[in-house]
Symmetry: C3
Subunit: 417 residues, 3 copies
């Protein structure tokens, strides 16, 4: 009797250990996606701003991570009234999530999600925003805005969680949240000098180093296999789910890239590699909400649609004269939105196309709409407030010279000897 109790206790210990190994390593994969954001964006902008965008992603990590430690975590996962919490000291105690990992490890993986969300914004404001204003926005976003969305979606008492909203790894809470914030930021900032002509036409501003962007894209693609499967927050009792999440994640990404290859080839007679990268990312973003509840075949379909949507969305954003240098709105905002409602269409449990039921679809639509509007509106307000106080945009002279020279005093490349 005593022996079996000892064995049972040790099994609990083993469960903790297994789930910790899983989450700690997935969290590391999620964290390294920051390098992906930084290098993808750096390659997509002009060389005179390459260092500045890497610095902005470092600010996402450093200011965002510390703000999420000091304030945000308690807002997201403290005792919620359904809309928000304001707890401190929750590194100890039961968060009501049935966790088998320590709260500090849970913090570490959640911090990875938080800085991923804010890193989406860095792309939308590239090549023209002042560094310190951006740092202040990062702190506010990571301390308050993102944690509120996380509270609604993932806190056991969150109003969307209680409605059965399914946003497994964050198409809504992370990607739509970040993407619509990027939209607001890009609108308030206005377009880069020389982006739009007086007659209303747009000029393409090609990225300076596409092999660097490819480095970033591969890092992000890799990291997504921590991002989505790691959202199980454990392996014991969920090992079957991990396999299907990984498979769905892959299939959607491949289908997204293929869709973009075909779309750009048919439409423009050349394959647009920048868009193929964005198509892969669009597939990844779109499957993020539903990778736990859709079939592999549905994952292929979701990815293919996402890879088509992103091509159209990039053009629409550009037509609206919103200058989004790396496509953050189209990739993360629009496809975060699509991916969230796709759960309501393709879920094996209650998707409209699979079972004919519409309740889940409506919940998904409500949830992602509220998050998107919330993110857009609050970011718009904060950017306007910053604009009227410390200013958000570099002078025309500084913008022409490049942020790297003006704010950092360096050139990214001096390959002369």
């Amino acid at each position: 009797m005593n022996e079996t109790a000892t064995l049972a206790a040790q099994q609990v210990e083993l469960t903790h250990a297994i789930d910790t190994v899983w989450v700690a390593l997935c969290a590391a994969l999620i964290f390294q996606m920051e390098g992906g954001f930084a290098l993808l964006e750096a390659g997509f902008v002009r060389s005179k701003n390459a260092i500045s965008i890497i610095a902005k992603v470092m600010i996402d990590i450093m200011f965002g991570g510390v703000a999420f430690y000091l304030v945000g975590f308690g807002i997201a996962y403290g005792k919620s009234n359904g809309y928000w919490a304001f707890d401190t000291g929750i590194m100890e105690g039961d968060l009501g999530l049935g966790l088998t990992i320590s709260n500090s490890l849970f913090w570490f993986i959640q911090m990875g999600f938080a800085v991923a969300a804010i890193s989406i914004v860095s792309g939308g404001v590239a090549e023209r925003m002042k560094m310190w204003s951006y740092a202040i926005y990062v702190a506010i976003f990571s301390a308050v805005l993102y944690p509120l969305a996380a509270n609604w979606v993932w806190n056991p008492n969150g109003w969307l969680a209680l409605r059965g909203f399914n946003d497994f790894a964050g198409s809504a809470a992370i990607h739509a949240m970040g993407g619509f914030a990027a939209l607001a930021g890009a609108i308030v900032l206005g377009p880069r000098l020389g982006k739009y002509n007086e007659d209303g036409t747009a000029n393409a501003i090609p990225g300076h180093n596409l092999t660097l962007s490819a480095v970033g894209a591969f890092i992000l693609w890799f990291g997504w296999f921590g991002f989505n499967p790691g959202s199980t927050l454990g392996a014991v009792g969920k090992w079957d789910l991990i396999g299907s999440v990984a498979t769905n994640t892959f299939l959607a990404s491949a289908a997204g890239g293929i869709a973009t290859m075909l779309y750009t080839f048919i439409r423009y007679k050349k394959v647009d590699i920048t868009m193929v990268i964005n198509g892969v990312l669009a597939g990844l973003v779109a499957i993020t909400a539903g990778c736990n509840v859709v079939s592999p075949d549905s994952a292929l379909i979701i990815g293919f649609i996402a890879g088509t949507i992103v091509d159209i969305a990039v053009v629409v954003v550009d037509k609206m004269k919103v200058d989004d240098p790396v496509g953050a709105v189209a990739v993360h905002g629009v496809n975060g939105f699509f991916g969230t409602i796709a759960v309501g269409l393709f879920s094996q449990k209650n998707g409209l196309f699979i079972t004919g039921e519409s309740a889940q679809f409506i919940t998904q639509l409500i949830g992602v709409s509220v998050i998107s509007v919330f993110s857009f509106a609050t970011t718009y307000a904060i950017f306007m407030a910053l604009k009227k106080t410390m200013g958000i945009r570099l002078s025309h002279k500084a913008e022409s010279a490049g942020i790297d020279a003006v704010e950092f005093g360096v050139e990214a490349y001096t390959t002369f000897e």
Copy 2:
């Protein structure tokens, strides 16, 4: 009694969870090797073709991965008659492999192997092949050719598996398979413009960005510690093996690099860093078949031989006027072949040099010979068929201008402002 049954059941669950964590993360490491292939190859070619080769590796992933999902997996791991299978719907059900992970996770790691095999080919056809012809070949290779080799070697009913062929992580089924396909492709395509002079001498065409190649090499090196140890497909009952596989993998890679340093220094008075990278990879390729059965000291020897062979093989391939821009044939083909037979020489269980027995050596020789010839012949035929129908090679004008401009309409680098 009931309690012990519960405990036993929970132990089974824990075993599933542990093995899933292991395989899911190793599979992610294997998948990220694609970034390694892309960047290594991109750096080794001219800048005018850098984007095109990255696109080809993305095609490997996207077309290869989807083809392996739709068709290939069932051919490789369905109910085999010893030579092939044609099953669909094997995401459920017992594959006869004694797996403790889900079939979908098994698919995910096998997909990583499949796209690694085809990515080897992308290097051999660099800088002159049409994109869509390549995409068709990728789909055929990943749907049929590679799965047949995998069936022979790893399907429980495969004729080589039944003979006791030891190809632990795929020196034969992946590397020789990919390397000899690359050879056939390079032959049918013919050399790049300007590679060989009329008097028969060859011109070196140096890579445009060796730091980028180094990024790729380090990614591949890293990923190999998922590739080889992950081929255990589980950790419970195999934890001791994981350690020796990792150690053997490292030692062979180091010895391969050292051999190449010494060889190129002695022969050319300068260390050829491109070849040192290839020497490291050659050591990794060569230990891949036998990392589970050789001693660490043998791993050092195998790596050292591989690092020497690769130097000679590159020269021989060049003398044959086969233009293999990144050394895919020498690294993967020749050393995949060598590594497979090295099992028959150095295996602790039955290697010719260790035990004096020759049976395993003969099995290894037969297996890798059949796979190499099969891969070469089928690829040759498919390339010839594609050549006579839609064409495989860019026009001379397009090749001179560069694939990036012609098929993608971009320049990799525009570092002007």
Copy 3:
């Protein structure tokens, strides 16, 4: 009875498997940090020496790894008299460390630490050292010098281990060890041509490719989440510790980067991105010794101090006319020293600032002082011996031309077509 014994035996097996999965993957993360060292350093030097520094890091891996296999491991973890050991064949048998992983896996992770230590030195001797002399030094360092420090700190019989010295993942044994060796090497070699003017002023020699350095920095940052948490050497019984180690590691890195942003902005009116990267690394180095025993708030403080110290240390080293091209002394030497004594200040158990006790602080101070002096003195002597025999420094003509051309016969970049 028999059933519970079977279950208990299987639990032991599961424990081995879990701990193996954890350590094998953390070891892979640690290994891939070598790519981080190589690319960070390559970007920080001039393009004419970019390949040579990557080659030096490959030498760290290849010569260092093999030397640690053949000799070093036995010196570090053989039967110690408190100061050294000289055992061979310790791939089998009990090392007295209570390991639940195989000795070969333990070797693999320890090899990662050994090559990390020597890779620090490659930065200090950049742009002027002869390759083969460096290779010899690498072999000696990895076979003897580093293993002696590891013996003192981590061997169960090591004199520092017995004193209760807390150097969890190696601020002293790895970072101070490597950093003070880099200092000695840089002093004996002398400054690069053109670094210091006749009037004593210094010239900045900016790095040629800061986006490449960023790639390296993100790789290192990622890898640290294997480096520190992986030093638990297992997860069973330590899962709680893993979470707090990861959190502390992150917070110190973020605080280090923020401190450097503020310091360089206040002092120079521009944010120095090179120093921000070094600030992040300084935070990581400093938390490495104590990440297992300090609180998250203390981790923030330690990181913030480290990020300030590194700015001052870089200036001081430069004032001493020691030419340390990538800041290895300031990042790893000075902050490895600081991080080790910070354990004695901030440890929850016995830190001077937390508990008022000074015993641990004194032990920390003694340990890191002895290691730093030992590393400096032995490296100084070996460099002097090499200088007088085969020479350590390239001719002025070769140095002006660049090591890549002279020793490797290549250019890193030929982006002309």
